[in-house]
């Protein structure tokens, strides 16, 4: 009887097995990498309505973060300041600057500026700034060195895995409370001893249960 298939088809099962592995493994790998916030969100840097420079204000001029984000220590939210905060200085400093036109307009009309939020957690994730600051986690741990940023950029993935990494091992992120807003702080050599001490003092027990964040 004549052969139905040519000889190379003998290799088909092997090719299909390898191809199947490749497709399944590749598919999982593709979504794992390209679907993750690490790939999709890190580096997000929207154009804001006002060319406000954190580098100038927080870096060069050395204004404390909490001058503008003044609820961070007492509320779940590190608020974006109202225009009034800007005008505390800018009624006197460069009131006629072109870069401040939008701020002046907002101040005159009372219509708030439409800042674009860079760090946005999903609504089903509960996050409290004050709890983290009280534990001694610095601003830079999550937001990066904002004092060096011309435009605010998202530098951490802020994925659930990223949150859990720190909740499971927060030691390298706990600071003396007066260093929280210090963008240049680096852990000292005895950081682990320090962390062990403050964890006891401040009663730091980072929760890992679902309902800690998904309430």
């Amino acid at each position: 009887m004549a052969q139905i298939f040519p000889k190379w088809t003998n290799r088909l099962p092997l090719i299909m097995a390898l191809g199947g592995l490749l497709v399944v493994g590749g598919g999982v790998g593709f979504f794992w990498y390209y679907g993750s916030p690490k790939y999709l969100e890190v580096g997000y840097r929207p154009e804001q309505p006002v060319p406000y420079s954190h580098k100038l204000h927080a870096g060069d001029l050395g204004i404390d973060c909490r001058y503008c984000h003044n609820f961070a220590e007492v509320s779940h939210e590190a608020n974006v300041p109202p225009v009034q905060t800007c005008m505390n200085c800018h009624t006197l400093i460069k009131p006629n600057s072109e870069k401040l036109a939008a701020v002046q307009e907002s101040w005159a009309t009372g219509r708030p500026l439409q800042w674009i939020r860079v760090h946005k957690l999903p609504e089903y994730a509960y996050f409290d700034h004050s709890a983290h600051l009280r534990a001694g986690v610095g601003c830079a741990s999550c937001h990066g060195n904002v004092a060096e940023m011309e435009k605010v950029t998202k530098v951490e993935p802020m994925s659930m895995g990223w949150c859990l990494d720190c909740h499971r091992d927060p030691d390298m992120h706990l600071r003396p409370l007066d260093q929280i807003t210090n963008m240049k702080w680096v852990p000292p050599p005895n950081q682990l001893e320090f962390a062990a001490k403050v964890k006891k003092e401040r009663n730091i027990l980072p929760p890992e249960n679902c309902s800690a964040c998904h309430r």
């Binding site: 139905i4 298939f5 999982v28 794992w32 690490k38 994925s159 659930m160 895995g161 990223w162 859990l164």
Partner: protein, 469 residues
């Protein structure tokens, strides 16, 4: 299988597994012909009907994804409704196929050969229907991948302590092993079909699926070993899959569900309902496709005996459940079972008892075991009864939970009913395709149980050849 020396070749003996005194050739002929003749009108009509139901199922699933699980009659506290009932029902149906193909194979029961092929096909299609329901029941289907241990940005594994996850693996394993087992058994028959094929396409398709089978000794040796190993793998699955399904209920702490009898009780029920389904399908198929010589009264009677035995098992489970509820002295447990038998769902409970325990008792009589109309009706009633068993377990327990103020009476919506009917449509669509394109009886295995397969057969029966002693 050794034929008695006294039986002459022409005599139709009820003791013979395969009747009509076929030769190897006529076996191939009568089974292969079924898939080789022109498709009949009746097949098209049936296929059109059932595939429309399957299409309705798909459309309803689409609407479910769009609108959410609220289109079902679900309302707290009844958060598991017909979808879970149907899931357990369909998984249970599958079990007979695996029992026939694996356990009866290992126990060397040669009567399985005529029914194993389509019983296994039934298993696979039933598991497909079963797997659909929890898949669509999760509500947010786009995160259904949470059920699998995939790497993700949440650092999150599935909850390995949840029986719902064990279910995913149990049913997944079950489907994979059943499919492999079925396919391995099909290979020699696919080669037969390939060799008989006239058109190029048939040759290519059957040839591709026959995986180059030549029927050599080496082929057979590998085949037999693979089949034995797969039978060994599938055997524990008969017991484990439905045990795990029962854990969905038994591991929770709800009175009426939290019962240690559940695993064996579910397995017995699964085999019970599965055999009833095999019976329904076999009775129709043997008539329509004229294979009464292969699926003989002996096969049917054996299946009826299994139905009777498993009916007694579930009957025992029903009564022991009630006894333990009373004996436990736990008022909640007592209420749960008293409520099943006398509460708002009493009609369902007594339907279940009537269909599953009372009706199969007719099979104590040999005359009834061999009466085709009777067994057809019984097989249908058993399937209805087993669906109601799952309904009683799932719904009656949930509807009357710990807080009387939230009790309510579960009412199915048109989508509950439509999806149950639709799943039957899917099942029969797949089954009709199977009957049309694949040999419904394992030809190679049937040949092995013919008297001629006995190496000493020709010593006693010349059959045109000289006996050499």
């Amino acid at each position: 299988m050794k034929a008695s020396a006294e039986t002459t070749a022409l005599q139709v003996d009820d003791g013979q597994l395969i009747q009509g005194n076929p030769t190897f050739h006529t076996v191939s002929e009568s089974i292969s012909r079924i898939v080789e003749v022109k498709t009949t009108k009746a097949w098209y009509v049936l296929f059109g009907f059932f595939s429309s139901l399957a299409l309705m199922f798909v459309v309803m699933i689409g609407y479910l994804f769009w609108e959410g699980t609220g289109i079902w009659g679900l309302q707290i506290p009844v958060a598991w409704g017909w979808a879970i009932v149907n899931f357990v029902f369909w998984v249970g149906i599958g079990h007979a196929g695996t029992l026939i193909s694996a356990i009866l194979f290992l126990l060397r029961q040669p009567w399985r050969t005529s029914i194993n092929r389509f019983a296994e096909a039934m298993t696979i299609f039933a598991v497909i229907c079963a797997g659909t329901f929890p898949g669509i029941h999760v509500g947010r289907v786009w995160v259904a991948y949470y059920m699998f241990p995939l790497p993700n940005q949440m650092s999150m594994w599935p909850n390995f302590r949840s029986p719902l996850l064990w279910d995913v693996f149990a049913v997944g394993t079950y489907f994979t092993v059943s499919l492999l087992f079925w396919y391995t058994g099909l290979i020699p028959d696919l080669a037969t079909l390939r060799d008989r094929a006239k058109s190029k396409i048939r040759k290519a398709v059957y040839g591709a699926f026959a995986l180059g089978w030549r029927g050599s000794h080496r082929n057979w040796q590998h085949y037999e070993l693979a089949y034995l190993l797969l039978a060994g793998l599938a055997t524990p699955l008969v017991l484990s899959v439905h045990s795990v399904v029962s854990f969905d209920f038994a591991v929770s702490n709800l009175p009426g569900w939290h019962t240690t009898i559940f695993p064996p009780y579910f397995v017995a029920g699964a085999i019970f309902s599965g055999f009833a389904m095999v019976m329904t399908l076999a009775l129709i198929a043997r008539k329509v496709y004229n294979v009464e010589n292969f699926i003989t009264m002996r096969h049917l009677e054996n299946m009826n005996k299994i139905i009777l035995v498993t009916s007694l098992m579930v009957g025992y489970a029903y009564s022991i459940e009630l006894f333990i509820a009373w004996y436990s002295g736990n008022p909640f447990e007592r209420f749960a079972f008293w409520n099943r038998a006398t509460g708002p769902y009493a009609w369902a409970y007594w339907t279940m008892v009537f269909c599953n325990v009372v009706v199969p008792q007719v099979f104590w009589s040999r005359r009834m075991r061999r009466n085709i109309p009777v067994m057809f009706v019984v097989s249908i009633l058993v399937n209805i009864g087993m669906w109601f068993e799952r309904f009683v377990i799932v719904v009656s327990t949930l509807a009357n939970d710990f807080l009387p103020s939230s009790w309510h009476y579960f009412k199915p919506t048109i989508f509950d009913v439509g999806m149950l009917i639709g799943s039957f449509g899917l099942f029969f669509t797949l089954f009709l395709l199977f009957l049309r394109f694949l040999p419904m009886i394992a030809m190679a295995e049937v040949k092995a149980v013919l008297p001629q397969a006995d190496p000493h057969y020709y010593e006693h029966h010349g059959n045109g050849k000289e006996a050499s002693v």
